[in-house]
């Protein structure tokens, strides 16, 4: 099966086979073609070449409805729920049971149907609750229930666990195994290789739009899969170098912001150093990043950069002071989707390429191309709309935006979220490069391996307070987690 978009060949002769009643993992870097494959199976796109067989018969999907009628259901990473409607209304959306009068619906039958499905799943989400009041995990249950109402034969799940905690993930797995045992075939997409071994029967690895191979999970290992995904030797996931630390660059003292979200936080960053701020989601670390970049006001405390105190009442002050922020949510906070790679890349540095307000276009083109090349941004051209790039490449453009502005301190909030393994390693390497040039890097991360892999020193945040620093060599996973959940926070390095 092949599919191309414009000049980009998204899928090239991909073979994929799904058995009845199996959980089949689909693995690949961002941009490897997973999403395209799913969209073809869902009937959103047509394949340019190749065929789809369902129970031996060749089928043609002219629209998503054709795919649905065969019982193929997709649950996307972004849910398709109506937040202002109840659980039952969402589950039955599209096939409301009719009431006695024509054109009316029967709320009791609807509630009953929803209740039945939820019971089959062993879930106790109240059918009358509004979806916007549910947790992410509960919303996912509603999505699954919605799919189950139509008796699916194939369920496709795109990164279902990216927003779930461990307990919720375990629960989801139980649910998926239950469905599998009832004959539903499941295509499961995830970046988390570890969890595939707990769940899947087989795995198919895609790379650059081609099938690399299909394996039984029992016959492969995580590191083997990683290697297949990236197609090259991953000498080390975290390419830590020995970089001599310089003088103090950024000094944050007793900083409070956003009510009690950030409470009397103090830390410092040296030249050529990567500092990680670890913490569970919502521990105040994103607010801290925003305060450092002038997005939200600082209520008390000081920020000193290379000896001079900063006011930081606006983002443009932060930019001019030499601070850069790679925000948590790339799509809403980082990209201007309909603008090109070049325009997105030079967004922060544009005044540097201008003389009295006039942009020197040649200089801008030259610099943008240089940075894009240096960061190895895969693109169809410098004016390609950035929304068409893969997550990893988008992230590289956002980082390049701050490099072009010659930032002295770079704050990265969840820098590798939704970024594939290959691009991850590239980003880590890049951060090491920056350190060699004397930049101070602050990484805000909820991923323990990342924190321990890249940071020189680690601070931990819990409920707005900060403990640390801990030197990387001297701290254990266990200790960091204890600090993050507020059990510990005593001795400092």
């Amino acid at each position: 099966m092949s599919k191309s978009f414009g000049a980009t060949q998204a899928l090239d002769q991909v073979d994929f086979e799904l058995r009845a009643g199996e959980i089949h993992a689909l693995l690949g870097e961002n941009g490897a073609g997973k999403s395209t494959l799913i969209k073809i199976l869902a009937g959103d796109y047509g394949a340019d070449k190749g065929e789809i067989r369902y129970e031996g018969n060749v089928v043609r999907f002219r629209s998503p409805a054709d795919s649905r009628n065969l019982g193929i259901r997709v649950i996307y990473q972004e849910f398709n729920l109506v937040p202002t409607m109840t659980v039952a209304e969402n589950i039955c959306l599209g096939s409301y049971p009719s009431g006695r009068l024509p054109g009316t619906i029967s709320p009791t039958t609807m509630r009953q149907q929803a209740q039945d499905v939820l019971q089959r799943l062993g879930e106790d989400v109240p059918p009358n609750r509004l979806v916007r009041n549910l947790s992410v995990a509960q919303q996912q249950v509603v999505e699954i229930a919605k799919a189950l109402l139509r008796e699916p034969t194939v369920l496709i799940m795109d990164e279902p666990t990216s927003a779930l905690n461990d307990q919720e993930t375990d629960h989801l797995f139980k649910l998926l195994r239950y469905l599998r045992d009832r004959g539903v075939s499941i295509i499961y997409i995830s970046h988390r290789i570890d969890e595939l071994f707990k769940l899947a029967n087989r795995v198919t690895v895609l790379r650059d739009g081609r099938t690399v191979g299909t394996f039984d999970m029992s016959a492969t290992t995580p590191s083997a899969l990683v290697q297949l995904m990236v197609g090259r030797e991953l000498t080390e996931m975290y390419p830590k170098r020995q970089i001599p630390q310089g003088s103090t660059l950024l000094e944050v003292k007793d900083l409070s912001a956003a009510g009690d979200r950030v409470r009397h936080v103090s830390f410092e960053v040296h030249r050529g150093e990567i500092v990680a701020i670890f913490g569970l989601l919502g521990a105040g670390q994103s607010e801290l990043a925003q305060a450092l970049f002038g997005v939200i006001p600082i209520t008390s405390g000081t920020v000193v950069l290379e000896g001079s105190p900063l006011k930081l009442t606006s983002t443009s002050e932060a930019r001019q002071a030499g601070i850069g922020l790679v925000p948590e949510d790339r799509k809403t906070g980082g990209l201007v989707g309909q603008l090109g790679v070049k325009t997105n890349l030079t967004l922060a540095a544009l005044p540097r390429y201008a003389r009295s307000g006039l942009v020197r276009m040649q200089l801008e083109d030259h610099e943008a191309t240089r940075w894009a090349d240096r960061l190895n941004v895969k693109r169809a051209g410098m004016s390609q709309q950035i929304r068409f790039l893969s997550g990893g490449n988008q992230q590289k453009v956002i980082i390049a935006r701050w490099l072009a502005n010659q930032s002295r301190v770079l704050v990265l909030d969840q820098p590798t979220r939704g970024v594939d393994v290959g691009a991850k390693v590239e980003i880590y390497r890049l951060l090491e490069d920056l350190c060699e040039q004397g930049v101070g890097v602050v990484i805000i991360s909820i991923e323990m391996p990342e924190v321990l892999g890249v940071a020189d020193r680690v601070y931990v945040m819990c409920e707005g307070r900060m403990v640390g620093p801990y030197r990387r060599a001297e701290v254990t996973k266990h200790h960091l987690m204890s600090c993050a959940v507020g059990i510990e926070g005593g001795q400092q390095a």
Partner: protein
């Protein structure tokens, strides 16, 4: 099939046909429409294709053309300015009263009226940026405030304006070309360069395309929104001056509904109400379509009530086009 399902289906079908192709088709459709309009008019009216009539058309679109320059900028920035036409009327009224009733020199009236235009724009921007209210509703309210002020200031009367200074902006000619036409063309060239070559223009696209991302890139988004609305107020003042010059009259009731003609033109020209997209030459094209349509309908003696209806259809069409482009 349910509503939800049919919606995803049609969206997916549109996606399958390919965005660029669909877009090209729409743009080509616009051109075909423009050509069809012109052919119809030239076949049905012998005056339509004469050079004199073309100068007439250009002259007649100079008012909405000038406002259109600013409206393009506002719409690219993600906003809209529905107060532009009323501001134009207020500016004219001030000039009329100051010159004819208070005996002030024309340049003084010009200065004061432009300051008022600027003030209206700044007021819009303050409410939009500080209170975070949608520009649509802010400028809709401002439109009535300004229109009311114009009526109050002139006590509702039209004023005959005889001022050689102001007259030049309406009926003056340079090398045989009417001054309003020259002003309009200059405004388009200037805005084209500003959008393409200045930091200001480039950041307006970014602010309109994704205000959050623009802010997180260290851009002072409020500053750019303020600049955009301030410019819109000034452009409305320029249009008001040209109008007084052309008609030798200051009328508080002038230009009701012009802002919708302008928005129609900008959207026909390919800008999106979601912001971040639009081109100044597209707007000129849209302005010309509207000018040709107005002119043709007048030549063909289409009753005025029907003209209003036709323009409503055109605005709806332009908005639909915007929606279709986004598919």
């Amino acid at each position: 099939m349910s509503i939800a399902e049919s919606r995803t289906t049609s969206a997916a079908t549109a996606a399958k046909t390919g965005k660029t192709f669909a877009r090209r088709l729409l743009d080509a459709g616009l051109l075909v429409f423009a050509v069809a309009v012109m052919v119809t008019f030239s076949l049905t009216s012998k005056y339509f294709l004469t050079p004199g009539n073309w100068i007439n058309i250009l002259l007649s679109v100079s008012i909405i053309g000038i406002i259109g320059v600013a409206m393009t900028l506002v719409i690219i920035s993600g906003g809209i300015d529905l107060s532009a036409a009323s501001t134009m009327a207020l500016v004219g009224s001030i000039q009329g009263v100051l010159i004819m009733q208070k005996g002030k020199p024309w340049w003084f009236a010009l200065l004061v009226s432009f300051a008022v235009g600027l003030l209206v724009g700044l007021l819009n921007s303050v409410v939009v940026t500080k209170l975070k209210i949608a520009p649509f509703i802010v400028t809709l309210a401002m439109s009535n405030i300004v229109r009311g002020a114009a009526y109050i200031y002139t006590t509702g009367n039209a004023i005959f304006v005889s001022s050689q200074g102001l007259e030049w902006f309406g009926v003056g000619r340079i090398a045989g070309i009417p001054v309003p036409v020259i002003l309009m063309i200059a405004a388009y060239v200037g805005m084209w360069a500003a959008l393409r070559y200045t930091v200001f223009g480039r950041y307006v696209y970014a602010v309109g395309g994704n205000p959050v991302a623009a802010r997180l890139a260290g851009i002072n988004t409020e500053k750019y929104i303020t600049g955009v609305f301030a410019f819109s107020g000034l452009a409305a003042a320029a249009a008001g001056t040209v109008l007084v010059g052309l008609t030798a009259t200051a009328m508080p009731s002038v230009g009701v509904g012009y802002e919708l003609d302008v928005v129609t033109a900008v959207l026909l020209g390919g800008a999106s109400l979601r912001g971040g997209e639009g081109s100044i030459w597209g707007t000129l094209f849209g302005v010309m379509i509207i000018g040709v349509l107005n002119n043709g309908m007048a030549l063909l003696n289409v009753p005025p009530f029907w003209q209003i209806l036709a323009k409503g259809v055109l605005l709806l069409g332009a908005v639909s086009l915007d929606a279709l482009r986004k598919r």
